[in-house]
């Protein structure tokens, strides 16, 4: 014991005299991981996107060029960018609208058992395999699936057919339409919106709502001027998840949807069979740029003022 103490005491004395040494020692491994593996690979990706591919040999030319980015703006590629961004925005907005009442109930009203049930209900879908869920949805949304059957059963097939007849977003059945892709995205990412939103709503103290009421605000005004601004950081956190996860996903649109490509599928195809790593990298940069721009706008609009 004494011998061990003779070894460790000078060390702990050193840490006491220079707390920074301990901090550096503790932080070094995670920082190395973050800088080398995480930021490093991102940098490598960025560098790749400034190379181009030789159209004859199919080899990568290691010279700086913006040619690959110019290719992104070719109609075929740019359509993919627009399609993915619109889908991500639609999924995010719908997720925020659906999540708000659920999160509000959980934050303000649910207690004890109800609260446990809430967490279970929100988390449960995350426990099963993503692929299983997506295929299950494909069956649900298929022409011969349970949804069509149920809609028939209540005699509302005219409504479903009218929806499917809509241009662009409609299709032969829900499972091969943009609506289907949208529904599955919404289902799969919804917990990522509910949980941060619920956490931020929980931090709104009851007496702020009373103060607003006391000062003459109606319930709608309290919602607009107190609750929503204070829930905004949570909503932004949730939207970062739903937006960026939708921007990067390549499995859902491949299984459910109209077989038109999304960014993730384009990246997959270009780095795989096509062997066009520079273009794949350029595609991968698009979500980063969009998210950066989104956060910048959110900050300027004061979304983080309540933090």
């Amino acid at each position: 014991m004494a011998a061990l103490a003779r070894l460790t005491d000078p060390l702990s004395d050193l840490f006491w005299r220079r707390p920074r040494v301990l901090l550096v020692l503790l932080l070094a491994p995670p920082l190395l991981w973050l800088v080398v593996v995480y930021i490093g690979s991102l940098a490598a990706l960025l560098v790749q996107s400034f190379f181009s591919i030789d159209e004859f040999t199919g080899l990568i030319k290691h010279e700086f060029t913006l040619k690959t980015y110019a290719e992104l703006f070719r109609p075929a590629n740019f359509d993919i960018v627009i399609r993915t961004t619109v889908m991500a925005a639609a999924v995010t907005i719908a997720a925020a609208i659906i999540s708000f009442p659920i999160a509000y109930y959980a934050a303000r009203y649910a207690r004890g058992r109800m609260k446990a049930f809430f967490y279970l209900a929100v988390m449960l879908p995350l426990w099963s395999s993503y692929l299983v869920k997506v295929y299950a949805w494909k069956l649900i949304l298929a022409k011969e699936g349970i949804l069509t059957w149920a809609v028939d059963g209540i005699g509302a097939s005219a409504v479903l057919n009218a929806i499917l007849a809509l241009p662009v977003i409609g299709g032969n059945s829900l499972s091969v339409s943009y609506i289907g892709t949208f529904l599955v995205f919404l289902y799969v990412w919804l917990p990522y919106m509910i949980l941060p939103l619920q956490a931020s709503l929980e931090r709104v103290p009851q007496n702020l709502l009373e103060a607003s009421d006391d000062l003459g605000a109606s319930r709608r005004q309290t919602l607009r001027h107190v609750i929503l601004p204070m829930a905004m950081p949570g909503m932004i956190a949730g939207s970062i998840f739903t937006f960026s996860l939708t921007l990067g996903d390549y499995i859902i649109p491949q299984i459910v949807g109209s077989s038109r490509n999304f960014i993730g599928q384009a990246v997959y195809a270009h780095q795989g069979t096509a062997g066009n790593i520079p273009l794949a990298a350029a595609f991968a940069v698009v979500p980063i740029v969009i998210m950066g721009f989104y956060l910048w706008v959110a900050k300027r609009k004061g979304a983080f003022d309540a933090l």
Binding site: P205, N207, L208, E210, A211, S212, D213, D214, L215, G216, A217, S218, Q221, H225, V226, P229, M230, D305, A306
Partner: protein, 330 residues
């Protein structure tokens, strides 16, 4: 004069707990009214019955003669300064103060002008652009005050308004609140568990215990003539004497109070009762001597300039005939 607030046999029950039990009281217009009592005595619930956050289980609350039982908080002519101020953290000071005007649809320039005027009233000019988190406790309290007053309420409710401030600031704010009330002429109703605060600021004090009002009166009445043992104990102004003690000094056998500063010390055998000095505390202006007499510990305040007896000394206690104040057991 109209009554600003009137409680007509008001009760508020939470399950089996009677938080407020058959309270009847009137608060005169333009007065400074204090609700004093220990925590759980029902004083805060009474305040919330006026603001509308609680509704009576039975009885009626009237504000300026109008029955208010069915009016929601946002439509009552009263505003509240909340205990922990409840400032909106995402809004700057100016927008916090202007909030009540904003939800009423007053345009931006007019409401910001009114907010600046109120900030000047509470001596916070130039603080409009700050966020509440950048202010000290005392400054936040002033913002909360300005935010309530900008709506020109008929009654201003203050829930433990000075509880979170340190002693020096608290005393300064007491004077300021009192001056503000006199200048504006608005009825102030404030809740506190600090008897010093209640006595120094209010025109009228209601002492609460167990959901009922035990005594209602001017600060002098409460201090000098506590109606019950509870009031004397809670206000802490006087020695509380049990019936046996009173009988032993030739007074009627009831509970009584005797203030520390009216008792004098004399030689043993020369006073109304003899006792032994148990302790002595120097309080600045006075020496507080504790004397054990007739099985009761009495505090005796002697001017600091006078010689105080050492612990263990035998003394006689004297007081004027009328100084012993009879009380109910309660």
């Amino acid at each position: 004069m109209t009554d600003a607030v009137e409680f007509d046999r008001v009760s508020r029950h939470f399950g089996t707990v009677r938080a407020v039990d058959e309270v009847t009281l009137t608060i005169a217009e333009s007065s400074f009214f204090a609700m004093l009592g220990p925590s759980g005595s029902g004083k805060t619930t009474c305040l919330r019955l006026i603001s509308g956050f609680e509704r009576p289980s039975s009885g009626h609350v009237r504000i300026f003669g109008a029955q208010s039982d069915d009016l929601p908080p946002n439509r009552r002519p009263v505003n509240t300064v909340f205990q922990d101020y409840a400032l909106f953290p995402h809004l700057n000071v100016r927008d916090n103060v202007a909030y009540g005007l904003m939800v009423r649809g007053v345009d931006k320039r007019a409401r910001h002008a009114a907010a600046e005027e109120m900030l000047a009233l509470v001596k916070l000019e130039g603080y409009g652009d700050r966020k509440p988190a950048q202010l000290s406790g005392g400054q936040r309290q002033r913002v909360a005050l300005a935010r309530a007053l900008v709506n020109k309420p008929k009654v201003l409710l203050l829930d433990e308004p000075l509880g979170a401030l340190d002693l020096k600031l608290r005393e300064a704010m007491q004077d300021e609140l009192k001056a503000l009330q006199q200048r504006l002429g608005i009825t102030f109703v404030f809740v506190t568990h600090d008897q010093g605060e209640a006595l120094s600021m209010a025109d009228k004090v209601a002492v609460f215990n167990d959901g009922r009002i035990v005594q209602i009166g001017s600060p002098e009445e409460i201090y000098q003539r506590p109606r019950t043992r509870f009031v004397a104990d809670f206000v802490g102004s006087a020695n509380v004497l049990p019936p046996e003690f009173c009988a032993s000094v030739g007074a009627p056998k009831t509970w009584a109070s005797l203030r520390a500063e009216v008792i004098g010390l004399t030689a043993p055998g020369a006073g109304r009762i003899d006792g032994t000095v148990a302790g002595r505390r120097y309080l600045g202006p006075v020496n507080r001597v504790t004397v054990m007499a007739g099985g009761t510990a009495l505090s005796v305040d002697l001017p600091a300039s006078a010689a105080a007896p050492e612990p263990g000394a035998s003394v006689g206690l004297t007081w004027d005939e009328g100084a012993l104040h009879r009380m109910e057991e309660g």
